[in-house]
């Protein structure tokens, strides 16, 4: 059961990574520890859409508070905060 859940969450996370890769028009995978904001992978429009994708794929509702940016600044942070 746990393995199945992991598999589902891994797939959702991969979907998120693929979506961002497509949006950022990158050929190679995005390194998990890359700071998405500092490296300009998302602008304000794409960032909001990215958060929407995250909500949908992780089945959560995000709140804009002081912790949000810390939780989503990299794919690794997203994985740790929303997909484990």
């Amino acid at each position: 059961m746990s393995e199945t859940l992991d598999l589902v969450e891994e797939t959702s996370f991969d979907t998120l990574c693929s979506w961002l890769k497509m949006k950022a028009k990158r050929d190679e995978d995005i390194p998990l520890d890359l700071n998405l904001i500092e490296n300009k992978l998302v602008d304000s429009i794409v960032f909001v859409e990215f958060m929407m994708m995250l909500e949908e794929l992780a089945g959560i509702q995000l709140e804009v508070n002081e912790d949000l940016l810390k939780k989503v600044y990299s794919l690794q942070a997203i994985k740790e905060n929303f997909f484990q």
Binding site: I37, D43, E49, M51, M52, V64, E66
Partner: protein
């Protein structure tokens, strides 16, 4: 020398010139050239004026219109017809053509006219390095053509109006000499003017002619009235950019840093002082040197001037720094892109030498008044001196806010603004068109004003098309021509399909419509992102709230969060910020805007082009950051009776910045053979 150096009223009443004197002038429809002509015509002698026009009447009217603007700026009456008839001779031609496009017969006439000088005041004011070819065509090739004509007509002297900023990035004392070959420039306008100075020098030495170069600093309006006098260049251009961005800039919590020298001094000279210098030089036979700075004896700290611009625009966020530490914010990128031209004013410290007698000093408080009056001028334009605002009851009893300008007896034009955009975006176009037309535009219902309840079931282009027809009914207009900008183009197409009998002609400016069955039309990144995001926001009001909280709702964010948010903004396209600053500002306006745009994205595959027979002009720009220029080509193909103009080196806001777009629209509506905006380009100093 007159008793008071700089007093033009005294000057024109003195016997300084003779009746048999004649000059040839370019740039007379521009700012400095126009003011020079206004005063020169009040002294004896004929003035042959090069003017681009379709015929003699049009040429004379263009000159008259500009002279009236000049006269008003001094609170003086327009020159009498008798003066114009006696002294003003219009020569139709254009700088970029060989021999200025003037016929052999006219050249022979000029050669017999006893012209003593060519006064060259016309120039392209474009400044981007990427526009080099376009600028060269006017500022270098144009000078060559003019010199060739002067030589053919045995005109002994050329007076070239340059700029003090041909000094480029040079620091310190700037002498009245030619600049070194290795001079670096802040923009290509400066470079082209500097190259033209040398071009003139080389030509006259080869052809045994004489030359005088006048280099004005930053020209402001007349000293006596301190109004703008009709220009939007220099100080006014900078202040206007700030004015247009002030709502956006007021959202910025962090300092907006311009790179330059905080202690930089600017030199501001009233236009009538420059005209005086020019006429004085003529009176004294041009003296014993070639180059003269037309500058003021007082220099003013540019940062202080910027602070005054901020004060009168109600903002306080700008600073000048030697270098930007950390990331460059998106607002800084945006402001840079809008104000790059002015970098030459604050980039390096310059002190201009001047050999002509000194003018009265212009003080910081004078400049403060100039700026205050200019912002009032802009405000008056916005508040209703430009538009009369009225409420029109539309087809479903909703009140629509309608803005009109111009004489109701003239040919009507209705402008469909882009969805949700403030009227400011079409104000310059409306003002320019109002000279020849009765111009009507309206605020799209729901956004930008939020006073009406949002009705999702009516959220489609037909609602706006019916609003347009209701406006025609209100003004008892059986027919009108229509102009649509950006998404407003879809409203025009829908109106033409549903109410063809009410539409005379149509112009689509950088139309943002959905031709979905044509997969060959690429999308700009801007459009791609909007088409991806807005449907999601339209279906979920919380997402609109999420966006606004994230971008604008960070009032209590700590420093690290603020940096992160700033980083997000940094990566945002500056044009996107400009375009979206109004409808993206609140949750409600964003939600409404997202629905309006989402429904636009889902209009039928043909975007209501099928069956439209109305005469239509499709205008696209090759540098459009919002709607792809190939969309304009596709639109033209879909429409049965359409013409296409693709403008080079222009973007989505061409109708806002480029006055030639208004002429193109007017000519098309009046069924004249229209010129491309490049053909009608006549930017003048």
């Amino acid at each position: 020398m007159s008793a008071t150096y700089g007093n033009l009223i005294e000057f024109i009443n003195q016997p300084n010139f003779e009746d048999n004197d004649a000059i040839f002038l370019t740039g007379a429809t521009g700012f400095l050239g126009g003011h020079f002509l206004f005063w020169k015509l009040q002294t004896p002698g004929k003035v042959y004026v090069l003017v681009r026009a379709s015929d003699a009447d049009n040429a004379r009217q263009r000159i008259r219109d500009n002279l009236e603007v000049c006269a008003r700026s001094y609170n003086l009456p327009m020159l009498a017809d008798s003066v114009l008839n006696e002294r003003l001779i219009c020569v139709i031609g254009e700088l970029k053509s060989s021999k200025l496009g003037i016929s052999e017969e006219q050249i022979a006439e000029l050669a017999q006219a006893g012209i003593r000088e060519v006064w060259h005041s016309a120039a392209s004011l474009s400044f981007r390095w990427e526009d080099k070819d376009k600028i060269d065509a006017t500022n270098l090739l144009g000078v060559e053509n003019l010199l060739e004509l002067a030589s053919m007509c045995d005109i002994p002297r050329i007076v070239y109006v340059s700029t003090a900023y041909t000094a480029g990035r040079k620091k310190g004392n700037i002498s009245e000499d030619y600049h070194a070959e290795d001079t670096e420039f802040a923009n290509y306008y400066e470079a082209s003017k500097c190259a033209a100075e040398k071009l003139v020098a080389n030509y006259i030495s080869e052809h045994g002619m004489k030359s005088t170069i006048v280099r004005p600093s930053i020209i402001v309006g007349p000293e006596s009235t301190q109004c703008s006098g009709g220009t939007r260049f220099g100080l006014y251009g900078f202040c206007q950019e700030m004015y247009q961005m002030r709502d956006t800039l007021s959202q910025v919590k962090k300092t907006l840093r311009l790179v330059g020298d905080r202690d930089c001094l600017g030199n501001f000279i009233p236009v009538d002082h420059v005209v005086y210098d020019m006429l004085y030089l003529k009176k004294i036979g041009f003296g014993d040197q070639t180059i003269y700075h037309a500058t003021n004896p007082n220099n003013i700290k540019i940062l202080d001037v910027m602070k005054q611009c901020e004060k009168h625009n109600g903002i306080d966020c700008i600073d000048i720094v030697p270098v930007r530490d950390g990331k460059v914010s998106s607002f800084e990128n945006l402001f840079d892109s809008k104000t790059k031209f002015y970098e030459g004013y604050y980039g390096t410290q310059k002190l201009f030498e001047r050999s002509l007698p000194p003018h009265k000093k212009i003080s910081l408080s004078d400049i403060d008044n100039y700026v205050r009056l200019f912002v009032e001028e802009l405000e008056a334009e916005k508040q209703g001196t430009i538009f009369d605002r009225t409420q029109v009851t539309s087809w479903d009893n909703q009140n629509i806010t309608v803005n009109v300008i111009g004489d109701p007896a003239k040919t009507p034009i209705v402008i469909a603004n882009a969805y949700g955009m403030p009227v400011d975006f079409v104000t310059p176009l409306a003002r320019r068109l109002s000279h020849n037309h009765f111009v009507i535009t309206w605020d799209t219902r729901w956004v930008p004003a939020l006073t009406q309840a949002f009705e999702l079931d009516k959220c489609n282009s037909l609602t706006h098309a019916k609003d347009l027809i209701a406006i025609l009914d209100h003004f008892d207009l059986p027919k009108a021509s229509i102009v649509g900008w950006s998404s407003g183009a879809q409203v025009c197409l829908r109106t033409m399909q549903e109410f063809s009998e009410r539409i005379e002609a149509c112009v689509l400016l950088n139309g943002g419509v959905s031709l979905k069955n044509d997969s060959d039309i690429p999308m700009t990144i801007f459009e791609e992102n909007l088409r991806s995001l807005l449907p999601k926001i339209s279906s979920n009001r919380r997402m609109a709230e999420f966006y606004c909280q994230l971008i604008y709702g960070n009032q209590n964010a700590n420093e690290s969060d603020e940096n992160a948010i700033s980083s997000i903004l940094t990566s945002t396209d500056p044009y996107l910020l400009y375009m979206t600053s109004m409808p993206f500002r609140t949750t409600e306006s964003l939600f409404r805007y997202a629905n309006m745009m989402n429904n636009l994205f889902h209009e039928p595959e043909d975007a209501y082009t099928t069956g439209v027979q109305t005469r239509t002009l499709v205008f696209g720009c090759d540098q459009d950051e919002v709607t792809h220029p190939l969309l304009a080509k596709a639109l033209k193909q879909k429409l049965a009776n359409a013409e296409l103009v693709i403008e080079e080196n222009a973007g989505h806001f061409a109708q806002f910045y480029d006055e030639k777009v208004a002429k193109m629209v007017s000519d098309f509506v009046n069924a004249k053979q229209h010129l491309t905006t490049q053909q009608v380009e006549a930017e003048c100093l």
